[in-house]
């Protein structure tokens, strides 16, 4: 196939000019490219090591089992934030995943791409993916006020903000997964008399599930680290109870990290560093799950 020929030609090319890479200038250039490729890893190592060293004194059970405390900063904990983050992410997934998949199916399987409104949806989606996250917070404030909820900082407000924020990500990755399902599967199904929706629901969608799951989890792992929109909806930081439902007040781990970092006492900073490691572990676990699903279930045609 054309794509295969292209990669093959590319492999040949990648070695073709190598013989002439002997001049000092081109070797320096190659070194600079290597540096820029691994610079990110260097920063990441510095970030994780410095944070882990700073937070090391606080890797204890208090960190995840106790609520935040201003009176005893050396024993302050992030229980409310961890549970709040998990709850708001569940609510976000419940809202964003069905809408995102449905929108992607419309755009990929049903939409007539010549129509102006479908083109408009496409451009609009590209733009939304780059709207600053604080703006989604401002939108969520207006939205829940419109629904008649005037209390600030509820789980539902946070979930609305985060859902709208990651919706473009979910739609884009779902479309890629659906697009990767070969046309023959659809043709076969339709040739047997299935309608377009039956084909989509029984053939295309199940084949695309691993890709969709991977993309969705990666989107959620982005949402779990977001603090800015939650700050805007007025999420409190000094919460000393577990969230219990959509209409409950809550706080989130990234937000507690933000407020704890802003405190001047050294103990708080140490606690914030330890909480960052907890947050990174949560994100790493989500990413690990996504990679596991991809490797285990992804089919290649």
């Amino acid at each position: 196939m054309a794509a295969y020929a292209e990669t093959a030609a590319k492999t040949v090319l990648a070695t073709a000019g190598r013989d002439r890479d002997r001049s000092v200038k081109s070797l320096v250039f190659l070194g600079l490219l290597w540096f820029s490729l691994f610079f990110g890893v260097l920063v990441l190592v510095a970030l994780i090591v410095s944070t882990a060293l700073e937070g090391a004194p606080r890797f204890d059970s208090d960190l995840i089992t106790r609520y935040s405390s201003t009176l005893s900063p050396e024993r302050t904990g992030f229980r409310a934030g961890i549970l709040g983050s998990l709850m708001v992410i569940l609510a976000t997934a419940a809202m964003a995943v069905p809408i995102g998949i449905a929108a992607a199916l419309h755009l990929e399987e049903f939409a007539n791409k010549e129509r102006w409104y479908n083109k408009f949806i496409e451009v609009n989606l590209q733009n939304l993916a780059a709207v600053p996250s604080v703006v989604y917070g401002l939108l969520a404030v207006a939205f829940v006020t419109l629904m008649g909820i005037h209390q600030r900082g509820l789980v539902i407000s946070g979930a609305v903000a985060l859902s709208l924020l990651i919706l473009p990500v979910i739609i884009i990755t779902t479309r890629e997964a659906v697009r990767a399902v070969p046309r023959e599967i659809r043709d076969g199904s339709m040739a047997l008399g299935a309608t377009r929706w039956q084909t989509t629901w029984k053939q295309t969608l199940p084949s695309a599930v691993p890709g969709i799951a991977t993309g969705t989890i990666l989107g959620l792992s982005r949402a779990i680290g977001e603090a800015a929109p939650l700050l805007i909806i007025g999420t409190a930081t000094a919460i000393r109870f577990d969230p219990n439902g959509l209409m409950s007040q809550f706080t989130a781990l990234p937000l507690e990290i933000y407020s704890t970092t802003s405190q001047s006492r050294e103990d708080f900073r140490v606690a914030a560093a330890a909480a960052i490691i907890v947050l990174l572990v949560m994100i790493l676990a989500l990413n690990g799950l996504a990679i596991f699903i991809r490797n285990k279930f992804q089919r290649s045609w």
């Binding site: 054309a2 780059a130 919706l167 309608t195």
Partner: protein, 320 residues
């Protein structure tokens, strides 16, 4: 029927089912139209989101501009919305801070992001490319509040003050910009890599045939040919930098003042929104509505940047 029954050989059409030579979906089931309607409605949510953003920002902003003239907001150079005796609503100190931080970020991110992209596209074999790309993307997975903490507790005291001996305060635009730059490296790297990779092989083959080495081919043939795509990548990175909140809120400072010196602490637009939204300003007051005026300005700036970027991407897709 005017179309032929077989499609020419080639990669499957990305358009999915649309454009089938023969329409096989002759059978109709009641209810299927409803399902299609639901799917379309879901796609419309994204449009409604945009409309919602515009309305949500415009309404309080219009109220704000009833109290404060637009020219005073856009032209003023003193930002003191909570100064009860002498409030001033000149947005320039916030805009200049965003500008300084963004410039620092781009100085870091453009060369490093482009370097990584050039290596992945021009030097790496397809196998290496597949393995190395996720490493670059790793940086995008770190939450911004973590980067903010890193800027505040590591970059400023250790790197800037101890190693480089730069006279900076506890919060400063330099540390925020540097870390922000690292954060947007993946955006720039990944999009410009796409653009470089899309340059036709024949251009490289021609260059190698003329005796050029890989550096010359990359810099003088591939990069100029991919310029509009690379520009789109940089512009999207710029948009990310302008809109990023937590790094700026934590590390850049919370004192709005007009300055172009990155060593000073300053409050950026997003930093102001973050610090004010959590405060106790009563809903509907002028100081609360400043949030939406600044938010609207931020949205308009990023919208313009995004539209330019989308148009540039479309252009390079057309070229090849």
């Amino acid at each position: 029927m005017t179309t032929t029954t077989t499609t020419p050989a080639g990669p499957p059409s990305p358009a999915g089912l649309r454009g089938d030579p023969v329409d096989l979906s002759g059978r109709s089931r009641p209810g299927e139209a409803v399902i299609r309607g639901v799917l379309f409605a879901a796609a419309l949510v994204s449009v409604l989101t945009t409309v919602g953003i515009v309305i949500a920002l415009l309404r309080p902003a219009v109220e704000f501009f009833r109290d404060v003239p637009v020219w005073e907001f856009l032209g003023g150079t003193r930002w003191a919305p909570n100064d009860s005796g002498n409030p001033d609503f000149g947005v320039w100190p916030l805009v200049s801070a965003t500008l300084v931080i963004t410039v620092v970020a781009l100085v870091v991110a453009i060369p490093l992001g482009l370097g990584a992209a050039m290596y992945l596209s021009e030097y790496a074999s397809p196998e290496m490319r597949r393995r190395l790309k996720p490493i670059v993307e790793l940086l995008a997975g770190v939450p911004s509040v973590v980067y903010g903490f890193f800027a505040l507790t590591f970059v400023t005291p250790n790197l800037l003050q101890k190693v480089l001996h730069i006279d900076v305060g506890f919060t400063n635009a330099l540390a925020a910009g540097l870390v922000l730059g690292v954060m947007i490296i993946p955006t720039i790297a990944s999009l410009s890599e796409d653009a470089l990779f899309a340059v036709p092989l024949s251009l490289r083959q021609g260059s190698f045939a003329m005796g050029a080495n890989r550096m010359q081919t990359t810099l003088r043939v591939v990069l100029p040919a991919a310029m509009s795509g690379v520009a789109a990548a940089v512009i999207l990175g710029l948009s990310r930098a302008v809109g990023e909140t937590m790094i700026v809120a934590l590390a850049a400072g919370s004192r709005p003042h007009l300055s172009l010196d990155p060593r000073e602490g300053m409050q950026a637009m997003t930093g102001y929104i973050a610090s004010t939204a959590g405060g106790e300003n009563p809903v509907g007051s002028t100081s609360y509505n400043t949030l939406f005026a600044v938010g609207l300005l931020l949205f308009v700036i990023t919208l313009i940047i995004n539209v330019i970027s989308i148009a540039l991407v479309r252009r390079y897709r057309q070229e090849y």
